[in-house]
């Protein structure tokens, strides 16, 4: 079939020694630059744009794929090792990846993060090539009501995520939603909750919140006690530095779920990698038989989101290459690169310039594999970082946090925000308020609000629009059903939790024995 032939042709042309060399260089540089929190794939790609542009188009784009994967992996590294979310899609990795590191399983966590992508069955490749036109149509059919439904589903998952302490989880989520409204309203141009400060016109920068809440918050929590020894256990032996067979087996379902979910979300314009990773984390946790392990170091909590991230990046290419619509910030930079090369991405790119389109898709996979080859052996070295005594490590973390946040918009306000959210993260930790719902709500909030308002503008304020349109009705229906199902099944666990909250030792013993 045409598509297969083209794809194979793409692989062939991508597989030249020069391209392989540059993709390797891309992976290495991407990893090095991407280590800086705040410099996620989009910013890394932008910084290295002058370099990639100087190469011939196919090679340059392939190198960009390498940089992209390298930067993503670097983001995962800092999240897992230091609880510093490198960029939006790696925030989720802090939730289970970092606890894994604290338990001495940093290596397996990082390895799983690198492997989860290519570990997907080849169906991913096939899905991309054959499903592309179908998915593109579906993406086109996704209007405001459909987005609203999807966001409702997402927020539902976020609420359910915090089932351990529902009131506090809900509080965290509401604060996140409230904070996300800060800025200039796109519909009316009015300022909301900015208190007259120009720095807040565009809203609060995501990286300031995530780095503050997670990285700085954790540092402050650790700083309570004098720490002159490493707080991490670093096991010896190479075997402990990679995921075990048991890990892989355990994560099978998570990887599958994550891949499928990530694929669909990634194909939607504006879907974004954050949403894909957040939602697959919530989904994996909720469909697991042992959800209480999540948040304390469940390997599936790393595998699922990472698989989603990987699918999402390939899926994001679909709207870019077929409709000329970038799905995520990284693809927006690639779009810029294509423009600088003189190519107009759009439906005609594949027909007018097949020598660009197909190798680019092939390069996503090549980049992924190259990442595995180059970075897996490096994991032991990365893990060594944890051996540094904490008193030396945490000032470095704070400095890294400042540089990372400042580098996003050259804004000192962002840095102050980060410091402030660091305090909040510390207080949240002390008072037992989960931080993840705040962050997830902060990301989903604007999308949800915009989608709802746009839908109502379209329908002249008729709420039936959400059920009149087929796709939207389906998603809402599914959300309601899944929500009810999960609510009912988790009720059993909930009663144990509330006994624990009440501080009754007897119930506590029962809980531990469960």
């Amino acid at each position: 079939m045409d598509a297969v032939q083209n794809l194979l042709g793409g692989f062939a042309s991508a597989f030249t020694p020069m391209n392989l060399f540059w993709v390797a260089v891309g992976v290495v540089i991407g990893t090095l630059v991407g280590i800086l929190p705040g410099l996620g794939p989009p910013a890394t790609l932008a910084i290295l744009l002058p370099v990639t542009i100087s190469l011939p188009p196919t090679t340059g784009l392939i190198m960009m794929a390498g940089i992209y994967h390298g930067a993503k992996f670097a983001g995962a590294t800092t999240s897992i090792l230091l609880n510093i979310p490198g960029e939006t899609s790696s925030v989720v990795l802090c939730l289970d990846g970092h606890p894994l590191a604290l338990k001495g399983r940093a290596g397996p966590a990082m390895g799983m993060s690198a492997i989860a992508g290519p570990a997907r069955p080849l169906s991913g490749v096939i899905a991309l090539t054959f499903a592309a036109p179908f998915v593109a149509d579906l993406a086109l059919g996704f209007g405001p009501p459909e987005y609203a439904a999807l966001m409702a589903f997402g927020l539902l998952l976020v609420i359910l995520l915090a089932s351990e302490s529902p009131i506090k989880g809900f509080l965290s989520m509401c604060i996140g939603l409230l904070v996300s409204t800060i800025g200039i309203d796109i519909f009316t141009g009015q300022q909301r909750l900015t208190f007259g400060a120009p720095a807040l016109y565009d809203g609060i920068e995501f990286i300031a919140i995530s780095v503050g809440l997670f990285a700085v918050g954790e540092v402050l929590l650790n700083a309570e006690k004098k720490m002159d020894r490493p707080i991490f256990n670093v096991p010896k032996g190479i075997r402990n530095l990679l995921p075990t067979k048991a890990d892989l087996k355990q994560s099978r379902l998570a990887i599958a779920l994550g891949s499928v979910f990530g694929f669909f979300i990634g194909a939607l314009p504006g879907g974004g990698s954050t949403v894909a990773s957040f939602l697959s984390y919530a989904l994996v946790k909720k469909t697991s038989k042992t959800p209480e392990r999540f948040g304390k170091g469940a390997i599936e909590g790393v595998a699922g989101p990472e698989a989603a991230n990987n699918s999402e990046s390939s899926a994001a290419m679909i709207p870019l290459l077929s409709l000329g619509i970038p799905g995520t910030a990284s693809t927006a930079v690639m779009l810029a690169a294509l423009l600088l090369y003189g190519f107009q991405p759009g439906p005609l790119l594949f027909t007018d310039h097949p020598e660009i389109g197909w190798p680019v898709i092939a390069s996503l996979y090549i980049g992924n594999v190259m990442l595995l080859v180059l970075n897996l052996p490096m994991i032991p070295i990365w893990v060594r970082i944890l051996k540094i005594p904490y008193w030396a490590l945490y000032p470095a973390i704070l400095v890294l946090a400042v540089v990372g946040v400042y580098s996003v918009r050259s804004s000192m306000t962002d840095v102050y925000m980060m410091v402030g959210f660091g305090l909040l993260g510390y207080l949240f930790g002390k008072f037992g308020v989960p931080a993840a719902p705040l962050l997830m709500a902060f990301v989903l909030g604007p999308m949800a609000e915009n989608a709802v308002r746009q839908s109502l503008v379209l329908s002249d304020n008729n709420p039936l629009i959400f059920v009149e349109r087929p796709i939207s009705a389906t998603i809402f229906g599914a959300a309601v059903l899944i929500g009810l199902f999960l609510l009912v099944t988790s009720r059993r666990r909930r009663s144990v939790q509330s006994a624990v909250l009440a501080g009754q030792p007897a119930a506590l013993v029962e809980a531990k024995g469960e």
């Binding site: 604290l102 945490y394 000032p395 930790g429």
Partner: protein, 187 residues
Amino acid sequence: MTQTDSVNTGPTAAVEESESAPEHSVLSTSPVAQAGLGAVAAAFGVIALIDASGLDMFGKKGVPGPGFFPISLSVAVIANGLLLAAVSLLRGLRHGRGPAGQMHGVAAELLRAAGVWLGFLIGVALMPLIGFVPATVVLIAYLVFGVERIKGIKAVLVIIAVPLVAYALFVFVLGVELPTSTLFEGP
């Protein structure tokens, strides 16, 4: 971040806990503390509500206006905060306050963390004034000498090396902007 095991915290339990997750703290179950948390949250909600009330709740034809979500959300935060306060107080009344001795170590811990945070804040504030590298040196020196009380050549090495390496790596190699000092910049 769950609270399953935090009932029996005390200084010794805290040390064991610290290996896996140092956030388990007595504050997360103490009814008074939780009630305080609820009250503070509600207060924030009120501030937000006051600021957002200037916006229109509804636009043309009753479509949600710019104020709809901010106002509803601030109300939600207030309600949530009050609910939390109420539930915690009820629980406190029913089960009595936790063992008094636990609060002992808490003050020292809070002070230490506060010291680090204040140092951080001041360090950041210094950056636009005296430049990134000097401010970072001051910050790390404060943390290493002042807070952690580490002495010796290793300490000095860290204090000097981290800012310089950061500067060299990010400014020269990556071309990333770092806060520069207005004092030195000049016209």
